[in-house]
């Protein structure tokens, strides 16, 4: 019940295309769903996050879609650029679930081809 399942494991997208990464969770106590972006040799950096009271959040080219009933959320990267090539991790946490400990998905390695 603590798992966050992320797919696909790897993704290749052409420049200008849309990248879509999906995550699913089981624990309904989760109430915070962030996405982290990690470049090689760097630590993860918070990209965008959503809470279950909204179904979508957009920041620039990055959008989180959230489906509470299906317990799924996804990251959409519009107009994907080679500079977006990185590993993306979804995560979930809940203050009433282990005090806010982040549970990470397994990661998606995104490659955007020029």
């Amino acid at each position: 019940q603590q798992q966050v399942k992320q797919s696909p494991q790897s993704l290749i997208v052409q420049k200008g295309g849309i990248s879509i990464i999906n995550c699913a969770y089981e624990n309904t106590a989760f109430d915070y769903f962030p996405w982290y972006q990690q470049f090689p040799g760097k630590g993860p950096a918070l990209l965008i996050a959503i809470r279950p009271d909204v179904s979508e959040k957009k920041e620039g080219r990055f959008t989180i879609s959230f489906n509470k009933s299906a317990k799924q959320f996804s990251l959409h990267i519009m107009d994907s650029q080679p500079g977006d090539s990185a590993t993306y991790f979804c995560a979930a946490s809940g203050i009433y679930n282990q005090g806010g400990k982040l549970i990470f998905g397994q990661g998606t390695e995104l490659s955007v081809k020029p």
């Binding site: 915070y32 962030p34 982290y36 040799g41 760097k42 630590g43 993860p44 950096a45 918070l46 996050a49 590993t87 991790f89 946490s93 203050i95 005090g99 806010g100 400990k101 982040l102 990470f104 998905g105 397994q106 990661g107 390695e109």
Partner: protein, 113 residues
Amino acid sequence: DTEVTQTPKHLVMGMTNKKSLKCEQHMGHRAMYWYKQKAKKPPELMFVYSYEKLSINESVPSRFSPECPNSSLLNLHLHALQPEDSALYLCASTYTATNEKLFFGSGTQLSVL
């Protein structure tokens, strides 16, 4: 200053060595974390310090010894490590332990020979 600074960036050590990893933040955060990350895997939580007190130890072997000298500094002391301990060690901080916005450092890439 929104940075978490980790030193050294790279470390090679033998199984009998003693070394320390250092982490510093000046954002006024009162919770600091150590994570371990293997290649192509997500970060795994090791320790959490809240207000300079150890609040979470995720059953980490005693060859890893954390220390939080003050609210800005976090150390990880390493002794008698195994080759399988080779990984990227990440420090992170949040405003408080119940605040979700985690700031990560760039990590220390550790190789144990």
